[in-house]
Assembly symmetry: D2
Homo-oligomer: 262 residues x 4
């Protein structure tokens, strides 16, 4: 751990009787009514307001990730909410804890690979192509999954990835990270000798990267988006409780293999 | 618990090889690039897209709640992140668990009172005024805190509440819930014989109510907003770790009162 | 909230270079190797060491609650662990969040009723019988579930409850709370005109009450016990991953009811 | 991920109308009243009952870890409980999420090193000594912290570690893992040319290892123990709320470094 300064500081917020200041701007006069949620979140996390193009692309990434049906996260939130309806916040929190290495981790993992390709040669030239080839070869040789590539259902191509890459281009934001992703995609098809789709987390890693979001906080954007999705699952659960069906389904799916019969 | 249907259903999402459908709309063709985060969250949770005026007001509410400095939630997230940096999602989740009755609960509690006043008389007439008076009297007589009113720092008035009420009016969304809040505010000043400010959670309860957000899911909007705030605390912690200072501060604040000296 | 003392104090722990003191006892010389887990937990939470009889009964309560198969809590822990294996602690935490009002809450709810009967007449005489009758009548009239009574599978009697009540008696700990539970059981059978079993949470509420555990911290003992159960589910998941089967079971159990087909 | 069997199985629990079976034993006739909490947890997690010596050592490890004052975990639990007292389970869960790599991770990390030394030579002979030397050299050369060694307060020796090693010996359980720890300790003192104490997590890694607890589930035992500690913090918080003092302490410890004054 790095040595700590003698007194800690924050630049996020302070308040007076008359106002609240967020990163030195007046909440009441410069932020409320002026910024959308996405602009405010970008400003608060990164310390600068997004351009209109960046705002559009970040919104598109957040829209893409928000909901994907009865994922483990959504099941967790619904089960927890019905077990403890007194604490909606705990149900959302329980669901968010599943936004881990299996899901959000692939976005971060892909972003690390893109950063490596960008570092090798500004993403556009022969050096970047060579690094992309090297990345693909390493993963194939080690039998490792390649984060940002492949999807069990969306074949031959993940339509969300295609739409996001197109959208980044429409907003003239295609930069080193998107170019690195496309170079990696070409290398993957060559090295694996078949087409493997760029998936949604791969496209988001590139899109957020080209909007200036650092790799180490990307998972935070997934959390923000999924938080909204989990709230929707709770509201549906409030109207149509699904707990017992889920429990029974789990019960039927798992057999006791001891000696005592049921 | 109500009897459950034989097979459970969800109307949130389904997917095919070529697309994902969220509440029957094509994610790739009708949502990504078309909706902002706030529009998508509103659509997903409530099943209908907000009007432009509703979108503005919901954005303003989410902007208002996002950040308030080193609250217990933010401290919790920072402590958990530094203790377990391998799981950013758990740190955000831990912080969200503090968005409970002390904070988000006052929003819900205020919304319940507003619903009661609205039910008494369409919020505008003498019946609504009488119900507001009754609400204030009951709380005063029982010595109960009145959710949505009062603030330890923002005196005489919470500037966020004033700005939100003004914004709702600018967007011509002032409806029964805001009128009920204003009636309750007048009643409070009379019954307590002093001015007590409408606070931010009170104004948000009215604003979300007039946007058609049901009381029982309002806490979800607080969770979405705070989730973004907690991500910002993690990103600041990544750059400037504050754990040890917080721990030591806690240590100094709490004295051991057993017989064994330190 | 009660007014706070100017400086906070704790009596749980302090440390020196040579030792740690827990509630004024030397961890190294008076606790490690001297106390079992259950004795230490009882001592730490309540500030006094249990008698041997109390230790036996608390152990029996903790053993009873530890495991009950694929409950919502266990499903949640398994799903979260497989989604984020980097953070076992988050998976256990997610599962514990389901130990809420549906499950642990019935223990607390039953304890409240027992306290009410005890308060009415030292639990043994006619006044206690009358209060038990009153409790049963109120719940039946209001159509409310009676916490601590009834079980969907264990009919006519929950064998865990019978065993715990017997065990409390063997250790000569039967006191006001157990007598109140038995009085309530008799009243329930009369008022509902059929036999409804005392269930495990009812028996535990009485047993912990007769061991001197206050009602407001009883849920904590359920959390300690279930924590161990959830660790076992993780260890089984490490050897035999069940995530996909559970996810697919949930998927099959929930049908999309929008217009877009799957 | 390993290929999944077609139908999932569990060997933890099943139930009939008359009984519950945990790993094929009757809960009511063979476990309740027969096993202590620690015996039951060991049996449930590992599938076999501990010997009396193993039970004593595991109890000692759980007693050692239970409480250490106002750690980040305990602060988190107290803050969350006061923010959301409706959900004690969420407060405990929030605190457990801090039992991550900084704390429990050092136990697991030390266990990995001990396993490596054991694998090199049955822990007793020259090969084990050489591997211990190699481990110490690698860590020193890389400037990495050595898990299980060193303590900021307990100098020159952590008294808990000494007590645990002694206790393992008293119960004649000193085996490969404890011998590997002692070999590593000698190597550390030589390689770093100064005495660095074995700390509590190092001693527990060896003690649990010699009781047959696999390295990958050791964190689970830390969670069980800390869960009880956090329940004690909640019970103290119920009697003497500390939230405001902690919040204010945090507030004072962190200065806003933007341009807007407070």
């Amino acid at each position: 751990m790095a040595p700590l300064p003698k007194s800690q500081t924050t630049s996020l917020a302070t308040s007076t009787a008359e106002d609240v200041f967020i990163r030195d701007q007046s909440l009441c006069h410069e932020l409320i009514g002026q910024l959308s949620f996405t602009e405010m979140a970008f400003f608060l996390v990164l310390g600068r307001k997004p351009t209109e193009a960046q705002r559009s692309v970040v919104d598109a990434c957040l829209v893409t990730l928000m909901e994907h049906g009865l994922t483990p996260s959504a099941i967790t939130t619904r089960l927890t909410y019905t077990s403890a309806p007194e604490a909606m916040q705990a149900a959302v929190a329980a669901g968010l804890m599943g936004v881990g290495s299996l899901f959000a981790g692939t976005m971060e993992g892909c972003a690390l690979l893109l950063n490596r390709i960008v570092a090798a040669g500004a993403a556009a030239g022969a050096a970047a192509e060579a690094e992309a080839e090297q990345v693909a070869r390493e993963h194939r040789a080690a039998g490792l999954p390649l984060p940002g590539f492949g999807h069990p259902v969306h074949k031959p191509d993940d339509p969300r990835a295609a739409r996001l890459i197109e959208l980044v281009d429409e907003h003239r934001l295609t930069g080193d990270h998107t170019r690195a992703l496309l170079a990696l995609s070409r290398a993957v098809d060559r090295v694996y000798t078949k087409h493997i789709t760029i998936n949604a987390t791969g496209a988001i890693a590139a899109a957020l990267g080209d909007c200036g979001v650092p790799q180490q906080i990307m998972r935070g954007f997934a959390l923000i988006s999924r938080c909204a999705g989990l709230v929707a699952h709770i509201h549906e659960e409030q109207a149509k409780p699904a707990l017992l069906a889920l429990w029974e389904a789990g019960d039927r799916a798992v057999l006791y293999d001891g000696k005592q019969g049921r």
